[in-house]
Amino acid sequence: MKRLACALTVGGLLAAAALLCRRLLRSGLAGGRAGATRLRVERGRAAVQLAVRGGVRYASSAPRLFASAGEHRQQLRTDLALQTAEDVASTLGAMKGVLMKIGQMASYVDDGLSPAVRRTLSRLQDSVPPMSAELAARVVTEELGQPPERVFGRWDPEPIAAASIGQVHRAITRDGRAVAVKVQYPGIAETIAADLQNVALLRRMLKITAPSQDVDALIAELRDRVLEELDYRREASNQQTIAAHFAGHPTIQVPGIVSELSTRRVVTSELADGARFAELAGWSQQERDLAAETIYRFTFRSLYGAHLFNGDPHPGNYLFHGGGRVTFLDFGLVKCFSLAELQPLIDMVRYLCVDEDPEGFRAAMVRAGFLLPDAPVSTDTVVEHMAVFYDTVRRPGRLQITGDYASAVVRRFFDVRSPLARYVSVPRSYVILQRINLGLFAVLGELTATADWRAIAEEIWPFVQGRPATPMGEAEAAWRASRGDPEPLPA
């Protein structure tokens, strides 16, 4: 029995990527139980099963995740800087750039990579030095038509942070705005694309029992996702959409994009500064609760209000300013939903938590494609299994989200031994939502945040439109009113 199932979904892709990393980099699976790694290849449920293992471990060991890719290379070795595009190719060619990208994508969902693999991937990142000032300037010149000193009012040639395949420079625009300019390594997209064109090695590494056209489709999907992330224009447009959606919000801040200074390999956004996630450990619980409330509101206002979900709820992507104000960074992975895609999810919440209609809930699950229509399990079992997901919002009252809770949620959902496991799957368009469980709850759990999540959710749920439940909710309502958003209906 081969280990890897073919699930042509983002989650399947990431799980595949995680497994790929494991296989490439000789990891033992956590716990070393070889038997547990043998997954039956069955389309549909395979995605769940694959995500399972990653998911459980993600949540249970979430704190280890809290170092962003860039922080690995905080100490930038400028004495080893890459000076030419050839340096870039020799440093990141021969699959290394691909492995780095896959490793990053996998690390977002899957902390189940063994310590050996994580060490290897982090060493791989460490092994990529920043660009020399000249090389970075050359990319800016190629992209923006003039050298950075001319494009910007002021340009700091010393990078302030490493991005996955680029680096971040500070600058001041000619009209005086402080900005962060992310500059991509020259030739990296071509190098990675070339490695993803020649797929014999990947194909062999993936060792999928599925028909070979599925393997090729999986690799094609991997190539598309990786190449998509290499085009900064997409990220810029996501960020712009979200920044516009939350413009003026009392606690949610999204740095604006300077579009005229953003291209495929350069993205310029307003410079943001603030406390990193790790520093929150030293903040009062009240401050942490407020930060958590903002993150929660951001996630679900994005989803219900803008039909967007930032698939990267990664602690490295937040900056904290106190009073619950949070800056959200990095929109490389954003999923837009159609209302048709969103409706069954909304129905599920509504039937379970508001209408308390188990059959309605089950029917919505089937409509969403989560549950086989004729699954021979009782509705009670379905509800019992799924309810843990909604634990934070089923009943009113203050509730603390702990790391244990986050782990339990994920573990339950992905419990392959549950009577439901055979009949559930995650349709492609929803896979990214798993990150709410995988990422958001891990973050909230890490903050040990307490709030009346149900009351906050009621504010956001379009079918309830509850009254503001917290001071932040009041401020948000005022902001929405000022924008002409519909007033919450009286409860």
């Binding site: 490439l24 000789r26 021969a94 991937l121 060493r123 090695l201």
Partner: protein, 300 residues
Amino acid sequence: MSTVEQDPYATAEDLVARSAAAYAASVPEDPADEGFFGPGSVAWRVSRDLSSPVAGLRALLLQALHPLAMAGVDQHSDWRRDPVGRLAATSAYLATINFAERAVAERAAARVRRIHERVTGVDTVTGRRYAAGDPALLLWVHSTLVESGIVAAGLFGTPLSAADSDRYVAEMVVAAELVGVPPGQVPASAAELDRYLSSVRPELRCTAAAQESMAYLLDPPGLDEDIAEIWQFIRNAAVASLPPWARGRYGYPEPEPLTDSRRAEFRQALGVLDTVFLGEPGVLEARQRIELRARAARRP
């Protein structure tokens, strides 16, 4: 299989970790001088080339075809008891000769010469006496390594120009002299190297010991499953890079033609192996030490 009752080979499970440790420990922190080659040398470039694992394996495949060289390894060294240790020691020696200061490189070479003094015997296949310190054997080992570096870089790494190939062969003369080949006997240009290699060819044959040793190297038992997969590519690349006559001696089947896409695949496998190697403690720092020396030398 073997002509002499021999112990079975030990497994190769720590191949990557031990080679990496040996390498990292042999790249000096703060050398007193730039050693026998120096940052601007082609030797440094070749030793740092992505293709070097293939070069090493190819060299071993050729070296083993010399019955006396093979007998010395098979009958004396720790080869069977601890093949991985033997390979790691070789990798440490090569890193030392390349990157250590001269005094350290000389001491390492003296140690190898001393060990060689004790390695003498009679080859059971040819009935000929052998001595590991025999310049003829040392020259064979040296020359195959140098040629393999050029061939592997040409196929799977950054190819050397004709001029750089000549320079590399000339630079490497000192390495042969360090282990005891008398001055003047070592090929000093690519053409001389080719002539020398052709001249030895009639003596070469695939003994049972060679067949067995190389079977071990091509498919080392006990490797972690994932490394084993990568190793198959490295192995296939090394076999594909051999001259046809050498493959013929071993009876290996003709490999698929080395198309551009096949070479890219081998390069990718080398990159993955290199990533694993890089993940071992100390390897990145060792490489950074070398890179910093190379950069310091380039500065005006």
